[in-house]
Amino acid sequence: MEKRHAWKVVLAALAVSSTMAATAAGYPDKTINYIIPFGPGGESDISARFQETTFKKLTGQSLAIQYKAGAGGAASWSQLNGMPADGYTVMGTNLPHIVMQPLEKNVGYKTDDIHTLYWFHFTPDALLVPADSPIMTLADYIAAARKSPGALTLSGSGTNSSNHIAQQRFDKMAGIKTTYIPFGGTGPSNTALLGRQVSASWGYTTVQVQLGKQVRCLAVAMEQRQKKLPDCPTFKEAGFDLVGGAYRGVAVPASTPAPVQARLADLLGQVNRDPAFIKIMEDNGFAMLDIGPAEMPKFMADVKSRYEAIAKEMGIRKR
């Protein structure tokens, strides 16, 4: 009897240790589900595809990219913590979305519920006009807006998106008034710009790279000029402290075991520092970012206080 009992203990211990080994050391030993909370073809999708290639090179495992669009990402983020917490389900996460959405309405999650492991890049906001527009510079743009307040129309992706925030912040900084027309994503917003349905567009640096000579970039919201767009000045050069855009990261369900989280964060960091990955990202107009678990608490505290202040300025409050 004693003997059999001991045998059980040994077996149990073995079982426990083997699962622990499996969750940390063997990870990842199968395909990881990578949920993109938006539709296919957007910036989140494209950067995830770039990550997938490098991730596979590093680990031999695939990232199975799936789309779960709805409510500007909220449909997926509100379910994140109910998903399998074994490290084989990860989800794309975005700023300013995960801060702004819970501020303005009850979306089924709070900013702190989203357990972001890594912020890996951002698409800086950029102010664009059609190539044949009489507006040649940022100074021209401000002058045109002063001349007839509210008459300049600007396309951008969605209400309270990064583009919308940039428009609101810049109007305030420059003391001008323009009209923001929200479109359903970057694609329709670009079409409206190219078709001269609007006078200008608050887009991203990626848009300028994608549309090439069809549009002219007046300024980008970056600390330094984007390597791929050397002719486009920063807002800072003109004296406006406007830096921002749509930030992208990877989150996991909060109850994912700590060793798995650490291993995954390490892998994401390796992907993010891969020279080939950096090159293809920058060639497509993205700007790199490298916020891992160590810097995460401070970074999140910063962005939260920053966006909360902006939300107050824009008059966004929970309805």
Partner: protein
């Protein structure tokens, strides 16, 4: 006329016998064939849409060369758009949103025992429409891309209103019930967070509704569930078996197609142009083509009761959107349809940037791909005919005890696959049961679905147009002062007044006839 034919061949040679040969490598042809077969099967299953078919294939294309990758994606895309016709005709449930309008006449034909003819017609029309779209892509891409840019929010608004006028035409029996159904669809389209403005509507405290009613899920529920309940409740066989039983009925179908050449060409061109418009897509193209075919047809009353012209219009139009949609995608870098958006992303990963420089700098990829698309479209003919023949026999012959659970399983699989989320399954079932109740009260599903799809487009266009007009200080000029908008408004008025005019003319003819009598 002769010079234009000469010009055509000259351009054709200019655009590359070389590229045609590149497209004709065994690997490319094999992948085109595989893509068309896979696409047709995926498209035929309700809920598995063309967008999904393309998205699933994308990772596999990373190992291929860019042109080969594009050919396989284009083949699966065009196959899926066509495949939607199978379930539309045989089960009265559109396989993809693009084939909603195919149910209008396809299923009545199948019920009358002419399902084989309907399938062959759909195949021929799809191939023709697909070729028109692809040839426009080959020959006229740069000039046609400018059309995409001429359509602003206001034009989309009027286009959606034009589509909504179809409700009047589709309301068999009762116009009032059709309008109520359309209104219900419009209400459903407003559920969730407003795209423009961000307001939350009709959600209550139920979080999953924030994302709104998913069109594909609603489509499956509203069309499939009543069919399933009907199959169970009704002891009659599902479809009559073919009366003639010679399988393809190819000669008959070709004859029907020749008789409606004008319809075929017009619908293909409508499909191409609507495909060019970003955000519109196959569902709108086939609805607009259907309403035009019906408006000018001498057999108007037969539409909705198994009129071959209806199938010809919708199927040629929806496959023409494939080539049309690639025009802004490749020329401007703006995706014309959702599958185009996925392909654009897949190309970026390959290091290919679509946009104005693509045609000059990487012409070999573009033209090889376009030829590949043409080859894939042609392959759809044998593939479609063979699959069609067996699909029809299978659906007619399969016992109901097997058919009902299979369709029920597919509806759940399809609605789950939209977002990999059980919420869409619940939504599908609830809407389906409501639709069944409404059908018993005499409400047909199509006005509801039209309202749901077009309501969102109309609202978006209206609010954006209003904001732009207000900023420019002239709202009326924005809505009624743009030439394309005025053209669409003319079609709307014509479509609404046509029944009145033709009725009056018929009355007049009748009275003069009686007056002349001695």
């Amino acid at each position: 006329m002769r010079w234009s034919t000469a010009l055509f061949w000259k351009r054709l040679i200019m655009f590359g016998i070389d590229f045609l040969l590149d497209a004709l490598t065994p690997l490319n042809v094999l992948l085109a064939l595989g893509g068309v077969i896979a696409g047709t099967v995926i498209g035929a299953l309700p809920g598995l849409s063309a967008t999904m078919a393309v998205a699933v294939l994308v990772p596999f294309t990373f190992v291929m060369s860019p042109a080969t990758a594009l050919i396989s994606l284009g083949a699966i895309y065009t196959g899926a758009i066509y495949g939607g016709a199978y379930s539309a005709i045989l089960l009265n449930t559109p396989g993809t949103p693009s084939s909603i309008a195919t149910t209008f006449d396809g299923y009545p034909m199948a019920k009358q025992g002419r399902g084989d003819l309907a399938l062959t017609l759909a195949c021929l029309a799809s191939v023709f429409g697909g070729l028109v779209g692809a040839i426009c892509l080959l020959m006229l891409s740069p000039p046609l891309a400018t059309i995409a840019l001429k359509f602003g929010p206001v034009e989309y608004f009027w286009l959606a209103i034009l589509g909504l006028t179809l409700i009047a035409a589709l309301s068999e029996g009762s116009l009032v019930k059709g309008l109520i159904g359309g209104g219900l669809g419009l209400l459903l389209s407003m559920v969730g967070i407003a795209e423009v403005g961000g307001d939350i509507r009709y959600v209550g405290e139920f979080q999953p509704l924030l994302g709104g009613i998913d069109v594909v899920g609603a489509l499956i529920g509203i069309y499939c569930i009543p069919v399933i309940i009907g199959l169970v409740a009704n002891p009659d066989p599902h479809l009559k078996s073919a009366s003639t039983g010679n399988g393809f009925r190819l000669a008959e179908a070709v004859g029907a197609l020749m008789r409606s050449k004008v319809n075929l060409v017009r619908s293909s061109l409508i499909g191409t142009v609507v495909g060019i418009l970003p955000g519109a897509g196959g569902s709108i193209a086939s609805l607009v083509a259907y309403s035009e075919a019906r408006r000018v047809s001498p057999r108007q009353d037969n539409f909705g009761n198994g009129e071959p012209d209806g199938i010809i219009a919708t199927e040629s139009a929806n496959n023409a959107t494939v080539g049309g949609g690639f025009i802004p995608t490749l020329v401007l870098g703006i995706p014309g349809t959702p599958p185009d958006a996925i392909m654009l992303g897949a190309l970026l990963v390959q290091g290919i940037r679509t946009g104005p420089t693509l045609f000059s700098e990487q012409s070999s990829i573009v033209y090889t791909f376009i030829w590949g698309l043409i080859i894939a479209t042609l392959l759809m003919l044998p593939v479609g005919l063979v699959i069609g023949r067996y699909a029809f026999r299978f659906i007619v012959g399969v016992p109901k005890a097997l058919l009902v659970p299979s369709v029920a399983f597919l509806t759940i699989l399809g609605s789950f696959a939209i977002h990999n989320n059980p919420h869409e399954v619940q939504q599908m079932v609830v809407l389906g049961i409501i639709a069944w109740g409404l059908a018993r009260a005499g409400f047909t599903p199509s006005p509801i679905v039209l309202g749901l799809i077009l309501g969102a487009i109309a609202e978006r266009g209206f609010v954006q147009g209003f904001l732009i007009g207000r900023a420019r200080g002239n709202i009326a000029q924005e809505f009624f002062g743009r030439p394309i908008a005025l053209g669409i408004i003319a079609f709307i008025i014509l479509g609404l007044l046509y029944p009145l005019i033709s009725a009056r003319r018929a009355r007049k003819a009748h009275t003069t006839d009686t007056d002349r009598r001695p």
